[in-house]
Symmetry: C2
Subunit: 316 residues, 2 copies
Amino acid sequence: MFRPQITVLDCTVRDGGLINKWQFSNDFVRKIFDALSKAGVDYMEIGYKSSEKYFSRQDNGAWKFCTEDDLKRIVGDEDRKIKLSAMADIGRVDFQDIPNKKDSVLDMLRVACYAHEVDKGIDLAHHCMEKGYEVTINLMAVSKVLEKDLDEALEDLAKSHVPIIYLVDSFGAMYSEQIHFLAKKYFAALPGKQLGMHAHNNQQLAFANTIEAIIAGINYLDATLYGMGRGAGNCPIELLLNFLKNPKFDIRPVLEIIQESLIPMKKEVEWGYHIPYMITGVLNEHPRSGMKIMDSKRLPDLRQFYEDLRDGTPLE
Amino acid sequence: MFRPQITVLDCTVRDGGLINKWQFSNDFVRKIFDALSKAGVDYMEIGYKSSEKYFSRQDNGAWKFCTEDDLKRIVGDEDRKIKLSAMADIGRVDFQDIPNKKDSVLDMLRVACYAHEVDKGIDLAHHCMEKGYEVTINLMAVSKVLEKDLDEALEDLAKSHVPIIYLVDSFGAMYSEQIHFLAKKYFAALPGKQLGMHAHNNQQLAFANTIEAIIAGINYLDATLYGMGRGAGNCPIELLLNFLKNPKFDIRPVLEIIQESLIPMKKEVEWGYHIPYMITGVLNEHPRSGMKIMDSKRLPDLRQFYEDLRDGTPLE
């Protein structure tokens, strides 16, 4: 489908870093940056903007922090067409740790928050807008939010100045019907705003749900190389770019970087469709219990895991 | 979605056998039969009905042939709720090699054919119906068929006595829009008949497209354990059964057999999402060139493979 307004954001390093605490080499990140630039991808989300007060560099790679020094090692000072984004979590970054846009190579900051803390999210988002950035709010885990609470959060977002709001299927629990239902609800509640879609692949539906989001009129689309991302991963960008048929995209540099960097990376770092993630997805639960299993490299009795999680007595 | 008419057919052994020439142990097939029975799955497709004149038992396991002796080793003579099916390809089985239903433990025969040979398919299907079987026709590879030729094939099928016609996405090339378009076309052209859906997972859309088929009114659904099947595999039955919410299905025996038999099998036999299959899928080509790559255990230059296949000069 060719719709010129469609904007693709690659969050391989940001979401993929949730698996290995952003322990990527500069070379790996630079190659991804180059490939996405050549492929015509609109944004690269290179990591989180977090404060070093709350997280240590001993435990986390550079892309947990995304200081200007970190970023410039990758992108240099050259002109570039691809824009750079970082994600900011409520309470994990202090306002004073965010430089003014004129002093940063970042173009966009995306604020991730839950419905119950949307006021804090809007506050941080407005602060980032005042500093000169493009800004989105990504409302997480809405598959667990009661409709009344979601409607209230959307009312608050409607009153904010934030121009782009993401529909986020954090648990990979949604089907196409939910995507259409929520997209319609968001558009109705948020007049004048653009919507984005961030999907997870627990039920092998991340790409399919992104297609449904496009059909529903959503223009901002998250994806990752080879689907790399926490747990079951994300919408594979190689599938999305091919689907879009927009002449600005070239899938070939994406195939090259997947072969050179992602296929080798997948031997070291685990993501993709696995039954523990499928179980958290179908039960609409956070993937953490599935990740604990996959990290342990030893599958427990999967039927028991399913029954326990369904009945509210998860392993952990 | 709970629609009582929905019928699930597991074709793990039949489609999965395309990877390893049906070299499954009796124990493996029996365990699958037991698990699917306990899970409440409606049909198990246990293999192909082929003539030993055309294929040798040296090269192919028992499930390429599905003689009564082969079948009885697995299912015995006991009463069972799950029905048994086998697939028959045009020109690969002679009429006289198909016993009368009263002498067979098989309940259903599914005739696979291309649009250009639909007359032969109908001929074989009618023969099987006369012998007392439930019968379907699975019209393969329709993503490559010109609309005029497809309409003619559907006209022929409409005139036949065959009650169930499958929409088959052999190359994993279809998106939800194609599923809805074709389902509407098939229903309009085939009044009074039931439709089925058989999807492949080259673009991670087998489950998603099966959901869209359900929404479009299709009641016969193919799936396989852990998605096992040729190339990128099929719609994973564990995802489908969970989605259906029909009280007749129990996902737990499916989780057990996946853990016991399919996860170990996947270490020996390759299926699932891999870039060579993704490339054949997005280019709407037969997976054979992707399978050749995956069999060789050595990836060629994937960008080159993509360009060659796109430009009509595949590797083989």
